[in-house]
């Protein structure tokens, strides 16, 4: 293109003119001004430099005439100065700015899930067929008591609960026993998978609503992120985890009141140590009301909580939130996986958190500096193993549940995470991919052609909440079926029997040190 700063474009859009019917569906779907129609020539043209490779146009082309090709990978071959390095320097030389990106790290960090294999029963212990026998995926998050006291009743309970109510669906006196210990507040998950924090503002209302509807349908939870909760979503409160982050956007008593649990966000896997930045263009009227900030103003979350400089300060906030919610809701603390995660998690649990959420280096975001996303933090698998081990060693593992986030791509990752010690997992990228995201990493531009990370009303209506919720429900249903099959294969009939059961995992192609950190034996070693 003439009159533009030299950049090395990444994609080339090829259009088979024999098949192009000039319906202009692609022109209207492209939100990056890469495709346009020239009436004089009666032809559709492309500005390849603008293409981000999101595949919106070729997905919707009714005659399949579009092919998007990667180009510019044919720089002179160089292991050191590859196209990634050259492009980054080119962009910075043109702008003088920090390199921005979206989604999780795309660098080839080792994915430990892919180096872990799962056990199965053979001969000496029978496997279970989940299609014929009951299989329990239900789990509870929250502080568990050190011991429980049970009272045995010799006669029927004076106030029997109606059938189907009470703990695990049993009436209070139906078996002649009752629990005397008062339990800390718990949240009940029908599947050990929740939707991770994505704020209203970063994603639009339609996507928030789809996540809420899917969470309600599947008996699990979604997380508001730090963007507050839109009034129209209060009806999904029972399936909502609300976040209290360093910016305190949208935090008020109703917000805490309608939720199922409260999460204090200390850090995020994609950008540990730095705050958030929602550009002013994304702060529309509704976002402004929900976040309680002026329309069009940048929403800047500070890097630290300015009232938390120690574990003691964290304890104050945890108890302030418990006090505000009448000690009826579990409080979670989310941290990015960093070098000292195990010790920090121990402090968090001792400070009174009911849930610890760990977000690893592959965790996603709407906007983060490239260098921080790709270089700061540690893989979530290692942090999880270390935190679980540390809490066990200190005898406080039952004080809090562990939720792991950052790079869960399939049901096998969920099974491995639970066997490594997690109580449940958070998914976000997987959920967005389910509703169309192609991980083009341009969320920070706010022009998402798939209508996800944009508040532009023209683009946001591309997500039909009902259709998106249906896809999310399908995803979770499919994963839960797969998890049941894997559990059955191991001869287990409840997800809780797998938790922290590292004996059912083996490492593959890992060094002794990595195996030690993960607490795993190498494949080939017996029990």
């Amino acid at each position: 293109m003439l009159y533009k700063t030299p950049t090395y474009y990444e994609f080339k859009v090829e259009r088979d003119d024999e098949r192009c019917i000039r319906c202009q569906v692609c022109v209207r779907q492209c939100s990056y001004n890469s495709t346009f129609y020239n009436a004089e020539e009666d032809r559709i043209f492309n500005i390849d430099a603008n293409c981000v490779g999101c595949h919106r146009c070729d997905t919707y082309c009714p005659t399949d005439c579009i092919t998007i090709k990667r180009v510019g990978e044919n720089f002179k071959e160089n292991a050191n100065w590859n196209s990634w390095a050259i492009r980054n320097i080119n962009k910075q030389a043109n702008t003088g700015g920090i390199l921005l990106t979206g989604m999780g790290s795309d660098r080839p960090h080792r994915i430990y899930w892919d180096h872990i294999v799962v056990d199965a029963s053979q001969v000496t212990n029978p496997s279970i067929d989940p299609l014929r026998e009951p299989m329990e995926l239900k789990t509870y998050l929250g502080r568990k008591p050190d011991s429980i006291e049970i009272e045995t009743l010799t006669r029927p309970h004076p106030n029997p609960l109606p059938k189907g109510e009470g703990v695990r669906g049993k009436g209070r006196g139906s078996e002649g026993i009752t629990l005397k210990t008062k339990l800390a507040p718990q949240i009940e998950l029908n599947i050990p998978i929740m939707f991770s924090a994505m704020s209203y503002g970063a994603i639009n209302f339609n996507v928030c609503e789809a996540l809420a509807m899917a969470a309600e349908k599947m008996g699990t939870y979604y997380n508001t992120g730090e963007g507050g909760l839109h009034k129209n979503l209060y009806k999904y409160g029972k399936n909502t985890i609300v976040q209290v982050a360093s910016g305190r956007f949208g935090v008020h008593l109703d917000y805490l009141g309608v939720s199922a649990a409260v999460e204090i966000k200390i850090g995020q896997g994609a950008k540990p140590g730095i705050g958030g930045h929602l550009p002013g263009e994304k702060v529309t009227e509704e976002v402004s009301k929900t976040r309680m900030i002026p329309v069009g103003s940048d929403a800047l979350s500070p890097a630290p909580h300015h009232d938390i400089y120690s574990i003691e300060d964290l304890r104050q906030l945890i108890y302030a939130l418990k006090e505000a919610t009448n000690y009826e809701k579990p409080v979670s603390v989310k941290i990015a996986a960093v070098h000292n995660a195990a010790a920090i998690a121990s402090g968090i649990v001792r400070a009174g958190a009911d849930i610890v959420a760990l977000d690893g280096i592959r965790g996603s975001t709407g906007a983060a500096p490239v260098m921080i996303r790709d270089s700061v933090g540690i893989p979530t698998e290692l942090a999880l193993a270390q935190v679980d081990q540390r809490l066990r060693d200190e005898g406080i593992r039952n004080w809090a549940s562990i939720v792991v986030a950052g790079g869960i791509r399939n049901s096998a990752d969920v099974v491995k995470a639970i066997a490594l010690g997690a109580d449940a997992v958070y998914i976000a990228t997987s959920a967005l991919v389910a509703i169309g995201c192609t991980v083009c990493q341009k969320c920070y531009l706010g022009k998402c052609a798939w209508g996800i990370t944009t508040n532009d009303p023209y683009l946001a209506r591309r997500q039909n909440p009902e259709l998106a919720a249906e896809k999310l429900v399908n995803l979770l249903t499919a994963w839960s079926r797969e998890i049941k099959e894997m559990l059955g294969g191991m001869g287990l009939n409840a997800i809780e029997s797998l938790r922290g059961n590292r004996e059912r995992l083996r490492g593959m192609g890992l060094s002794d040190r990595e195996l030690k950190i993960l607490g795993l034996k190498h494949a080939g070693e017996g029990m």
């Binding site: 569906v25 919707y60 005659t63 532009d456 009303p457 683009l459 997500q463 039909n464 259709l467």
Partner: protein
């Protein structure tokens, strides 16, 4: 009666409903041929109205119970189908009987929704073929004549679900009965 209702809050103006409508009402039922080869070119009977920024809706015939187009038509080309041609079931759709249509456009003047299209093309006169409009009937075979017909949504008689509804990628069109 089941008709097509648009949901403007999730219409994203891709206009795939129009592509589907053109394909369905073509001779070949093939998108490529319908757009590139067929003469006369098939018309879309739905139109996505767009008001920028951010409002669009696909508009097609409402098959009104008190259809003004039927009142306006003096040749009774525009009529209500009492019984479905396919299954013989009660039907209420408003359709054009093309052999009777003379292209006076009174239906277009009367339609409050603006969903009737002018289908005009230069075609070959076919002598006494009853498919020719009455005023053109009898013109010589092989003679180029201007054909004028009204064209509107017929709810896809060959399909159980109209083509536009099935093609909409965001479920912004629904085929249902409302009171």
């Amino acid at each position: 009666m089941k008709i097509v209702y648009p949901k403007e809050e999730v219409c994203m103006a891709c206009r795939l409903c129009e592509v589907a409508c053109i394909t369905e009402h073509s001779k070949s039922k093939d998108t490529l041929k319908a757009y590139k080869k067929e003469n006369p070119a098939p018309l879309s009977r739905t139109l996505v109205e767009e008001i920028f920024p951010g409002l669009s809706v696909s508009v097609m015939c409402r098959h009104c119970s008190d259809a003004p187009c039927i009142e306006a038509c003096f040749t009774s080309a525009m009529h209500r189908l009492a019984l479905s041609e396919v299954e013989g079931k009660p039907d209420g759709r408003v359709i054009v009987n093309e052999p009777k249509c003379v292209g006076c456009w009174m239906c277009i003047m009367a339609c409050p929704f603006g969903v009737i299209k002018r289908n005009q093309y230069i075609g070959e006169g076919q002598g006494d073929n009853p498919l020719n409009p009455p005023l053109l009937r009898g013109k010589g075979k092989g003679q180029e004549i201007k054909v004028k017909l009204s064209s509107k949504c017929d709810l896809c008689p060959d399909r159980s679900i109209p083509a536009c509804v099935e093609a909409c990628p965001n479920k912004a069109l629904v085929h249902e009965e409302r009171n």
